[in-house]
């Protein structure tokens, strides 16, 4: 299978703001050149203050998400407390490395808010965590989105600005990528709430 990461297509992006954080994803689920559905969920709420976005092979997106759900549920029951976003970010890295020689073909982005501070981490498929940047991308349209992010991003944006900027970056990136698009979803996480916005994009 050439390009197992390209088989289903799809892109994700995460961006830090001032006491807020946003993730966005496209909605396409394809099988190489065919588009199967235009409402595939790629961002999952792990906890009130933690979102997990996944790009890559869709079956692994689903399975890895289910694995993380199981981990956090067991953690909540065993430890009788919520998981911190930084802890979850480390858990994702451990879970990916556990499958070092038979990996999940996903590129995750963890977005969370810990004591008001935005937490953003991305990984390769075997758990190399990177949490130093203010925005991160994943998926087949990633590189195109990077370009748009570099142009539009500025630090300490408000939730409204952030929603606008991350939405624009996702859309312009996905427009270029043949395997991503067919709509977009933007999630903005603040101390008080999570807002979800569905974007209309070029339907190609």
């Amino acid at each position: 299978m050439s390009g197992i990461f390209e088989y289903n297509g799809g892109s994700i992006v995460g961006m830090k703001g001032k006491n807020c954080i946003a993730v966005a994803c496209d909605r396409r689920f394809g099988q190489q050149m065919s588009t199967i559905t235009t409402n595939y969920q790629k961002v999952f709420k792990i906890q009130d203050n933690i979102l997990l976005a996944l790009s890559g092979l869709n079956t692994d997106i689903h399975t890895f998400y289910a694995l993380m759900e199981k981990e956090i549920n067991l953690y909540n029951l065993k430890e009788n407390r919520k998981m911190k976003p930084t802890t979850f970010a480390n858990l994702v890295a451990s879970a990916l490395y556990e499958r070092r020689f038979g990996p999940f073909f996903v590129t995750p982005i963890v977005a969370g808010l810990e004591n008001g501070k935005p937490i953003l981490a991305t990984y390769d498929s075997i758990g190399c965590k990177s949490d130093l940047d203010d925005f991160q991308v994943g998926g087949t349209g990633g590189n195109y989105i990077y370009g748009a992010c570099e142009a539009f991003f500025k630090p300490d944006m408000s939730p409204e600005e952030l929603e606008e900027v991350i939405g624009q970056s996702l859309v312009s990136g996905c427009d270029r990528d043949a395997l991503s698009g067919w709509g977009g979803v933007v999630y903005v996480l603040t101390e008080q709430k999570i807002t979800v916005k569905i974007l209309k994009t070029k339907q190609t």
Binding site: K78, E79, K84, T86, T87, N90, L91, S94
Partner: protein
């Protein structure tokens, strides 16, 4: 390894092996733990069988992490095995979550191993009660872990030879507003009450965790100062 369990129920519904393990604990050197508002103190008797024993080589309070330590009453080697197991549990947790393990979580996971020894084929229960003292994000904790695998959180407790008398003494002396310095004095006083012979800085061991979350074994010079204050 045998296939059949060594610890089985008596007709009265007791697990005699666990009762006997508790007997072994009750013969062991006394250990006392007190949880203060801002720390935990562990104090344990370190009676040597002969003056020829190299005192410094005996360590009865074992650090499990920077902020958690344990001591025991009962069979020394069993404690050694369990404290090493506890350290591995902490590291395993650390590798997975890269976060400090809570005292309660560690106690529960270690208790799992202790319970297995009361049910698995071919092995006997551990002959120690362990006192775990630690200071984590939730605050100070003192947990007792018994040979049955049961664990209890305490404000203050004692295990070993003088457990009964020591606990009675503690019930009178303990108050929830205790600061760590008061707790150290009270723990030493409690140990002194039932001590056979003269209590000295070298025949006891004192471990303290304060609100800086760092566990320290007090050097004999410091223990000497505390003991002198008791006079």
């Amino acid at each position: 390894m045998t296939d059949f369990a060594l610890t089985t129920f008596s007709s009265k519904g007791k697990l005699l092996q666990i009762e006997y393990a508790l007997n072994a604990v009750a013969k062991g050197d006394t250990a006392i733990g007190i949880k203060a508002k801002n720390g935990v103190v562990l104090v344990v008797e370190k009676k040597q069988s002969s003056i020829l024993v190299e005192e410094s080589s005996v360590q009865k309070i074992a650090p499990l992490t920077d902020n958690i330590a344990a001591t025991y009453a009962g069979l020394g080697p069993d404690f050694r095995v369990l404290s090493q197991q506890a350290r591995k549990l902490v590291k395993k947790y650390d590798l997975k979550y890269q976060e400090e393990m809570f005292v309660q979580t560690l106690s529960r996971e270690l208790a799992e191993d202790v319970q297995i020894a009361t049910q698995r084929g071919g092995i006997r229960p551990f002959g120690v009660s362990i006192l775990i003292g630690g200071y984590d994000e939730e605050g100070p904790h003192l947990v007792q872990l018994d040979p049955s695998g049961a664990y209890y959180s305490w404000k203050a407790t004692a295990i070993g030879k003088q457990a009964k008398n020591a606990k009675a003494f503690l019930e009178k002396r303990y108050n929830a507003d205790m600061e760590i310095e008061d707790a150290i004095n009270t723990a030493l006083l409690t140990l002194k009450e039932g001590f056979e012979g003269q209590i000295t800085p070298t025949n006891i061991e004192v471990g303290v965790i304060r609100d800086d979350h760092v566990f320290r074994i007090l050097p004999p010079s410091q223990v000497k100062d505390y003991l002198e204050e008791l006079e």
